[in-house]
């Protein structure tokens, strides 16, 4: 197998000796004011607009959440967020969670609800995590443009916590809301640089499928419910 590499690279280099033309279909060669020298333009020139202010971003995130069936809750204080979390968690037996400052500040709220906390930081039993009523995680960013959250394996409780329990509660701080995917990727690049986590995931709404007659069903294999708290 060690020569598989040489075989493939050899084939590629031989093939690339002949340059390829750029095909331009005559049907849409003009009309969008973009000349084909093109790389001065950025994806921000083409993708959906986001709006300049923080308020715009919150509104857009709210609108996207509604379409995605994400429950998006904005709080003016941690105390308010705490009582909402207590209400949500009442009746639950166990939730998966990980160690993180913002989650720590909401811990009393969960204790008030009387739920057991399963911390994933030092490892966990798959079956036990699967049996949790919810998984609570922090995030790296919220993305207004798409209504997404970015989570990673190294900072948000591992790979499974955000996808194995049937309900995912994600806690984000205001300053984590960024306008678009490009900003989120730039943030990740700056934060992690050469040592990226082994997994980084953009989560956009609760798990879904349309595989049966293209009819939307939530909770295919991942969480059926996604609740996002935006806290100060």
């Amino acid at each position: 197998m060690s020569n598989g590499r040489e075989i493939i690279l050899g084939r590629i280099r031989e093939a690339l000796q002949k340059p390829a033309p750029k095909h331009h279909s005559p049907t849409e060669s003009s009309g969008h004011g973009h000349d084909s020298t093109g790389h001065d333009s950025t994806v921000r020139d083409w993708l959906p607009t986001v709006g300049p202010t923080f308020k715009d971003h919150v509104e857009l995130f709210r609108k996207n959440s509604e379409a995605l069936k994400t429950e998006f809750l904005v709080f003016d204080s941690l105390a308010e967020a705490g009582s909402a979390l207590t209400k949500l968690a009442t009746g639950w037996k166990m939730v998966g969670i990980h160690r993180n400052p913002v989650l720590e500040s909401l811990r009393p709220a969960l204790e008030n609800a009387g739920v057991r906390l399963l911390f994933t930081d030092n490892g966990y039993e798959k079956a036990e995590l699967a049996a949790c009523d919810a998984g609570i995680t922090s995030c790296e960013c919220l993305i207004a443009q798409t209504g997404s959250a970015l989570v990673t394996a190294s900072t948000c409780g591992g790979r499974s916590l955000s996808v194995l329990p049937p309900h995912h509660i994600l806690i984000a701080r205001r300053e984590q809301l960024v306008p678009d995917l490009q900003a989120a990727l730039a943030f990740a690049k700056q934060k992690f640089g050469g040592s990226y986590p082994s997994m980084m995931s953009f989560i956009t709404g609760p798990s879904r499928t349309g595989d049966i007659e293209r009819i939307l069903v939530l909770g295919a294999h991942g969480p059926k419910n996604l609740t996002i708290f935006l806290v100060p």
């Binding site: 197998m1 598989g4 493939i8 690279l9 084939r11 590629i12 093939a15 690339l16 002949k18 390829a20 750029k22 095909h23 279909s25 049907t27 969008h32 084909s36 093109g38 333009s41 994806v43 020139d45 083409w46 993708l47 959906p48 607009t49 490892g123 798959k126 699967a130 798409t146 209504g147 394996a153 591992g158 790979r159 499974s160 996808v163 194995l164 678009d180 995917l181 990727l185 730039a186 990226y196 986590p197 082994s198 997994m199 980084m200 995931s201 953009f202 956009t204 609760p206 798990s207 879904r208 499928t209 349309g210 595989d211 049966i212 007659e213 293209r214 069903v217 909770g219 295919a220 991942g222």
Partner: protein, 467 residues
């Protein structure tokens, strides 16, 4: 065994006469059109985005050796084991070896069309490994022992009733006509498989040279679980999946979602770079990437059609293709259906055996117009036809065309043939739709129109005379 062309003809004939099937496909796609158009309309310029996506892919594909090496070096530095596989057999052997060396018992898969190219499930099952497709649509067609019907919607040809019957027979579940209940049945079955599996096999939608990461797009969360719970993760990707930079995803992820399923963004878009890293609490101990050529370099070697390697497998060209909508996905007999399948299969599996797919086209150009990375699809179909005729001319076609040329060049001969035709058509009803009918290929399912009583030439001359 009948040949691919005979198989295609008989399946296409059967499917296109099946009105129930056509109704089902049209209904499924009508929702897609609405959502796709809604989301496209939100772009400041969809055409600008296409142009940019095409430029980025052009750069990656035309410097493929450079970006592949950068990707491999970056990902190996993070502990990934990369397997360079010149063909499907090499990929199959590499995966079997990983499974055997690690004493794997149960394997969970998330959606990968690339593994269909070398019939991986079959090979694994033959060696005694249990393999479970976790994507709902893939699981359904796996239970039916069928290949995926569509490269994005594998089970779009089935009704909930058929799926309920299937689950009742194979899983012993209660019959139901609720898609939600059917989904929950599959979820329960798969939960067990996820927790038991010691190896997860996934595909890859993109590979980022800059970071050495792959990116997987999915809605269900099954790929997330496939890559989180088992102790080994094997990702299978074609060598053409590369993108130069991390920020390219900001363009490609939304475009794939909009073209593929009419969404603004797919539910999970996840980047994977290596096995569990130091300090991480879970994830696989081993991460393998299978880099598959399997004659993709044949497409690369054809500069005229090299842009077919831009393909991001969104399936948009299938969804707009009048041929696909009538003959359905299974008629093609290929891993990749629709216009893109018709373009690349002759390169992947032999021009002469698969040239008929390039003939099965109305050349309407809907595929080219919808393609998010601007592959010149319908012209490639013409190029395949030309190449096939040049490589191996068909004797009767040559005679027929030289006869046609002679006829068209000679006015006297042309008008004589029209006259003969008008006489001939008087007798046509006697043989219409019988094996003696010289027009049987047309009249089998259509009415042959009568020639006009007078030709344009005659009408023009008469008009001139009058005035």
């Amino acid at each position: 065994m009948s040949s691919p062309v005979q198989e295609f003809k008989s399946m296409a004939k059967r499917y296109s006469a099946d009105l129930r099937h056509r109704g089902l496909i049209q209904k499924a796609l009508s929702g897609y059109y609405v959502k796709r158009d809604e989301n496209k309309a939100r772009y400041q310029s969809w055409q600008g985005a296409r142009e940019m996506a095409s430029e980025i892919k052009y750069e990656a594909v035309n410097h493929l050796d450079k970006y592949l090496l950068e990707f491999v070096q970056k990902t190996e530095a993070r502990g990934t084991k990369v397997h360079w596989c010149p063909d499907g057999a090499a990929a199959r052997d590499a995966i079997l070896k990983i499974a055997e060396e690690n004493e794997v018992r149960s394997i969970i898969k998330s959606k990968s069309m690339t593994t269909e190219e070398f019939h991986l499930n079959h090979a694994l099952e033959e060696k005694g490994f249990g393999v479970f497709e976790s994507d709902l649509g893939e699981y359904i067609v796996q239970l039916r022992h069928e290949p995926p019907y569509h490269l994005v919607f594998p089970a779009m040809h089935l009704t909930r009733g058929q799926i309920s019957d299937l689950f009742e027979k194979e899983l012993g579940s209660q019959p139901t006509d609720s898609p939600e209940e059917l989904t929950m049945i599959a979820r329960r079955v798969m939960r067990e498989k996820f927790c038991e599996a010691d190896m997860g096999i996934s595909g890859a939608n993109f590979a980022i040279a800059e970071t050495g990461m792959i990116s997987i797009t999915e809605n269900e969360g099954n790929a997330r679980l496939t890559t989180s719970l088992p102790r080994i993760h094997v990702a299978v990707m074609g060598i053409e999946k590369l993108l130069p930079n991390l920020e390219d995803l900001a363009l490609f992820l939304p475009m794939l979602a909009t073209s593929g399923a009419g969404q603004a963004l797919t539910c999970y878009n996840t980047m994977y770079g290596g096995p569990r890293q130091p300090g991480e609490i879970d994830g696989p101990e081993q991460f393998h990437i299978i880099l598959l050529d399997n004659r993709r370099t044949e497409i690369l070697a054809d500069p005229e059609q090299r842009d077919a390697l831009h393909c991001i497998r969104c399936g948009a060209c299938l969804n707009v293709c009048p041929i696909f909508k009538n003959v359905g996905g299974h008629s093609y007999g290929t891993t990749y259906q629709g216009p893109i399948g018709s373009v690349i299969t002759p390169h992947l599996r032999g021009l002469q055996d698969w040239k008929h797919l390039s003939g099965a086209s109305s050349l309407c150009g809907a595929c080219t117009e919808t393609c998010p990375v601007k592959i010149d699809l319908h012209h490639h179909l013409l190029r395949n036809r030309r190449n096939a005729a040049k490589e191996k001319p068909v004797w009767w076609e040559r005679i027929a065309f030289s006869g046609f040329v002679m006829l068209m060049k000679n006015p006297a001969l042309y008008s004589l043939s029209l006259k003969l035709g008008r006489i001939g058509q008087i007798f046509h009803p006697l043989v219409d739709r019988t094996p003696l009918d010289p027009l049987i290929a047309w009249t089998r399912s259509r009415t042959f129109p009568n020639l006009a009583p007078k030709s344009f030439h005659q009408l023009w001359a008469e008009k001139k005379k009058k005035s």
